[in-house]
Amino acid sequence: MSSNLVYIKKRSTQELVPAILLTRVTIKQVEITQIAWQKVLDEAIEELRAKGLTKDLPEHHGWNWRTKHKKYGRKAAYRFLGIECEQKIQGLMLLNTIYRPSHISNQKEKQIIYGMFLESAPWNISGIVNSPKYSLVGSVLLAAAVRISEEEECEGRIGLHSLKQSENFYKDCGMTDLGIDQLNENKLRYFELTTSAAKAFLARR
């Protein structure tokens, strides 16, 4: 398993704190994480439902990382990234490195790295808990994906379909909104990070 030092922000003090970027998350780590995240998510969902706030339910609440790891974890085309801080996984991301062409007109034939799933721990998400613990988890994972895209000779290009609740996050990261994908991924909005936007995104961090 490979790991690298990164920094995420502790919201209570607004300080950057060291964390570990895991570039090969193991099934054991995923199993422990799934149990811990599910407990917090289930409690939050129960509370939201009790208050009648069903439209505020997190769209990703059905995701099961254990199932994803079982399916993709031992295949060379997929990369499981994670961020660990305080001995807990604070976020997970699954990337697909199989050739997919860019949707941007002057980039056709150029490969993108496809972000299949990105999730921050539920205790880091406002709307799920009252006082989220850490911020920048999603940005650090996206930055790691950009680095992998560079390693894979994709020059920082990333593509992904976003859940509605995450669209603003990806826009803020500088991703290009290429509209609703009418044919794939349950008609989610498709975004791409171009090479120049990837450089700008890394420079801003």
Partner: protein
């Protein structure tokens, strides 16, 4: 980010030509093409083993050709 081990792969003329063509077309190194090929091969093998089929479809005629 991940450790890599070098592997020597002897290729014949046609295989070398195919590798060079793909690298040029996709604007990547020959190493990147070989990695992609391996990943795709493993993915296809796994899905066939799970009972799926690999089919190519002609966009115009909608004709399907079963590959594997």
């Amino acid at each position: 980010m991940v450790d890599k081990k070098p592997v020597i792969v002897p290729l014949n003329d046609l295989e070398t030509e195919a590798l060079e063509e793909l690298a040029k077309k996709k604007d990547v190194s020959k190493v990147a093409v070989m990695r992609q090929a391996l990943r795709l091969y493993q993915l296809i093998e796994n899905r066939i083993a799970e009972g799926e089929k690999l089919i190519f479809e002609d966009k115009k005629s909608r004709k399907e050709v079963l590959m594997l």
